[in-house]
């Protein structure tokens, strides 16, 4: 008995050591990047804290106050004011506008981009106008949007849609126009000609560029959500930021900013994951 115990004791560490040695660096390597990524915000928080904490007349609240406000905004039970426990409502309102506006932009910009990229007549007809409209910032559209669509969510949808529109359009046109000519030759000598080429060559070949457009478009939709919600809507992250600003509730403003940042980040990650799945064939993205 004691002999077997001895041998197992001696033998056991030998296979264990190499696996332990190989898992340790991988765990470390996996944690190293998130840790590095957190280092900078942590430093900002520290500087922010010492710059604002305990100063009576600071216009910017210290991080601890913002954290409490965020907790109250999400779960209530601290301030019990008009903002308590309303985060989910505002978040859902903004998410629905971002994705709704993005979806409308996608439905219009994708087919339009395919047509402009593929048909020279459509390109000559529309492209110059679109290029002139493109530099006009979304904020400049705000007054006109409110006249055309009235106060409220319809204007918000329009502005978010406008923000997402150009990235999708421009990248789709680019994708369609940069399909390798060789692939058209290959398709036609294999018996795929005319409109069939559109679906079997043009569309799949331009998917990576279209996907880049979707990603940028969704990002822009989050960027313009605050402007979009300056149109007199009652709910939404942009709406509470604008309202809290007027009430000098700067901690709520910062909470809104943080939530938009996190929500935009998460939604970008989801789209990227989806893209990696769908575009496994593309060496650039895989």
């Amino acid at each position: 008995m004691s002999i077997t115990l001895e041998t197992t004791r001696v033998v056991a560490p030998i296979p264990v050591t190499p696996t332990a040695a190989s898992t340790h660096p991988s765990v470390f390597a996996r944690l190293r990047n998130p840790l590095l990524a957190l280092l900078f915000p942590a430093a900002v928080l520290v500087i922010w804290h010492f710059a604002t904490y305990g100063r009576k007349f600071s216009l910017i609240p210290p991080p601890s106050e913002v954290a409490l406000a965020l907790w109250d905004l999400a779960f209530g039970g601290i301030n019990d004011d008009a903002y308590s426990k309303t985060l989910l409502t505002h978040l859902l309102a903004s998410v629905s506008r971002v994705y709704g506006g993005f979806a409308i932009a996608l439905i219009v910009a994708l087919p339009l981009g395919l047509l402009i990229g593929r048909i020279s007549l459509v390109r000559r007809l529309l492209d110059p106008t679109l290029q002139v409209l493109r530099p006009i910032p979304v904020t400049a559209w705000l007054p006109l949007a409110m006249i055309m669509f009235g106060l409220g969510p319809r204007s918000a949808f329009f502005l978010v849609c406008l923000g997402a529109f150009y990235p999708i359009l421009i990248n789709t046109i680019f994708g369609v126009r940069t399909v390798e000519p060789r692939l058209f030759e290959a398709a036609s000598m294999l018996g795929c000609q005319g409109t069939a080429q559109f679906f079997r060559v043009v569309l799949p070949a331009s998917l990576p560029a279209i996907f880049t457009g979707l990603r940028l478009g969704l990002g822009f939709a989050w960027v313009v959500i605050v402007v979009g919600e300056m149109t007199g809507v009652q709910t939404g992250l942009g709406a509470i930021i604008m309202e809290a600003r007027q009430l000098s509730r700067t901690e709520i403003v910062i909470c809104g900013m943080v939530v938009i940042g996190v929500a935009g980040f998460v939604s970008d990650r989801l789209v990227t994951l989806l893209g990696k799945r769908l575009l496994r064939w593309s060496p650039g993205l895989a």
Binding site: A196, P204, W281, P283
Partner: protein, 259 residues
Amino acid sequence: MPSTANPILDLRSVGKQFELQGQNIEALRDANLSVHKGEFVCLIGASGCGKSTLLRIVAGFETPTRGQALMWDMPITGPGPERGMVFQDYGLFPWLTVRNNIAFGPTSRGLSSSEVKDKTEHFISLVGLQRFADAYPHQLSGGMKQRVAIARVLANDAEIVLMDEPFGALDAMTRERLQDELLEIWQRTGLTVLFVTHSIEEAIFLADRIVLMSPGPGRIESEIAVLLPRPRDVVAPDFNDMRRMLSEHLHSHHGRKAA
């Protein structure tokens, strides 16, 4: 080769001119060429001799400005599956797996899914890519990509395979293997091959007949039948004699042009 039967391919005084920045360029002048079914014909010549233009006219990618290009006595009006092209840069669809690249042609022509499947699997194994059937082109080596490109036109029932310097981008070892494999497929299937190359050795190793072309303007200079028995030995004395003869031929055009 049977010269009595109708040729599968017949070029009659084919010429091609095009404009480039206001200049008129004659890419091909008065080319006459007949290819019979089952023949392996190599086009060889310096760059600018019109060999690729000739191939692209047969493929239907270019229309001749003079003369006629006929297949089975019918004018060639555009690309078609009976004339499969293998490009030097492969031209595979990067978003399709090996299997779906090979299935592209049969699917486009509307074959039933069971037919497509049978053909695809048959040609995947013909070129020995069973293990890579689900890989994407960017995961393959150059040699494997070119195997897919060949299988793709064979699976589409091509009667003539047009090859535009197909092995030019490959390393020497891979090139030799693919030459062997191509000859084996050609002998087994009775295919007709029109093969553009700038390698004299490759032309002698592969062809029944070599068409020599020369530049300025691009034209067919002469045709030489290669009567060496197959499989050919690239270091045999008669192979070397032929290589020397062809080399002198090609360089004499060169000299004449320079003089």
